[in-house]
């Protein structure tokens, strides 16, 4: 049964319960993937945007959102992917970046300059490989503590 007093704010709340499949420490709202929640009568429309065009998690975003809606008793819904406006790492808030850093992923910086080591917080770091474990990350190495780490590429 769909509750009759369903509102968009509540659905936004549910969306914060959907983790990013590759970086589960942050959710899809924090990642900026959920762009809009529209209520059309009892039908729910969720507008999402892909992060990287080649991100293998693109379909997973849709599946996870659908699962969450079904779990909440919503069966009449549509998840629509739109590229405009273009997703950018600028949409990650300072809190989200802090969460990434805490989880061991160096957050994106302007022009990929001044990259911090998530382990010892040194800026004395160097690129090891432009391409890392996911399309959104590069591999870096800290010259202070010598540990390798992932860096979320600026896009």
């Amino acid at each position: 049964m769909v509750s009759t007093n369903l509102n968009e704010k509540e659905i936004w709340g549910w969306m914060t319960e959907v983790p990013d499949p590759e970086i589960p420490i942050i959710n899809l709202v924090e990642l900026g993937v959920i762009r809009a929640v529209n209520l059309k009568g009892n039908a729910v429309e969720i507008i999402i945007t892909p992060t990287y065009t080649g991100c293998p998690a693109k379909q997973l975003f849709v599946d996870l959102i659908s699962e969450k809606l079904v779990e909440k008793g919503i069966n009449d819904f549509e998840v629509i992917s739109r590229i405009h406006p273009v997703w950018t790492t600028d949409w990650l808030s300072e809190e989200t970046k802090a969460k990434l850093l805490k989880d061991g992923i160096s957050p994106p910086t302007v022009h990929n300059k001044k990259i911090i080591c998530p382990h010892c917080k040194s800026y004395n770091t160097v690129l090891a490989s432009q391409f890392g474990s996911t399309p959104c990350q590069s591999l870096y190495k800290c010259l202070e503590c010598l540990e390798p780490f992932n860096y979320f590429k600026c896009l």
């Binding site: 065009t53 080649g54 405009h84 432009q130």
Partner: protein, 251 residues
């Protein structure tokens, strides 16, 4: 058998770019576990994903323009060689790591120029996609440029093999600039594409100490009419086997 007919001129234009991205993606995917180092394996697989992602988004636009008469998957897996419109450059095999790098660089510089002009297209989704692609492809271009400099200025052997790759691939660059009416309808300035591409490759030749092969007039039939090198059929046979043998297969 399903007939996939692309008749809308805008869709005809977009499918050329989409096909080129899908076929290059397939070529890069073949490198997965075959690259010279683990980092390179990851890098090339990532570049392949980018190509597939772009190709997929473009195919979605193509399907929509054709009133969803077919899906993007149908378009990729159920068209024959002559119904494909990719550039011949991306069909060239992974004979040598230098071939992979040269092919990538020549492609990246070319599509960057195409997407630059599409970034202001009146089709909002295409413009947005192009803006996104431009940011993503910078990483790829940087990667192939760095490798060309390293190989060109590396050992005698690496230089020789890279120059050889360039000499082979060069003949497939001429057709890139033989723009037809369809191209000219959707690209704002086709002359600028050729001019900027030349600037880009010349900068690389200087940085990598490689020689620009001579431009020779050749009679190679145009990809825009569905003519390909001998390799496309083999790629498609590999790529399409499963969906054609098991049309309803899901995973």
């Amino acid at each position: 058998m399903m007939q996939i007919k692309i008749t809308n001129p805008f869709a005809k234009f977009l499918v050329r770019i989409a096909d080129s991205e899908i076929i290059l993606g397939q070529r890069l995917a073949e490198m997965c576990s075959n690259a010279p180092t683990l980092e390179e394996d990851i890098a090339l697989s990532n570049l392949g994903l980018d190509c597939f992602g772009r190709g997929e988004e473009l195919m979605k636009l193509v399907s929509a323009l054709e009133n969803n008469a077919f899906t993007p998957d149908d378009c990729v897996f159920r068209r024959n060689e002559r119904e494909y419109f990719c550039i011949k450059l991306v069909e060239q095999p992974n004979n040598d790591f230098a071939w992979v790098v040269v092919r990538q660089f020549l492609h990246d510089v070319y599509v960057t120029e195409i997407f630059k002009q599409l970034a202001t297209n009146e089709h909002q989704e295409l413009a947005a996609l192009s803006q996104k692609v431009l940011k993503e492809i910078e990483y790829s271009k940087m990667h192939s440029f760095d490798w060309l400099v390293r190989l060109g200025r590396g050992t005698e052997e690496s230089k020789m093999r890279t120059q050889n790759a360039l000499n082979v691939m060069w003949k497939y660059t001429e057709e890139l600039f033989l723009f037809d009416e369809i191209d000219k309808t959707y690209l704002s300035d086709t002359d600028a594409i050729a001019a900027n591409w030349n600037l880009g490759v010349n900068e690389m030749f200087a940085a990598a100490d490689l020689e620009r092969p001579a431009d020779k007039k050749r009679h190679i039939l145009d990809f825009r009419k569905g003519f390909h090198s001998e390799f496309l059929g083999l790629i498609l046979a590999d790529m399409q086997y499963l969906p054609r043998a098991y049309p309803d297969a899901k995973w």
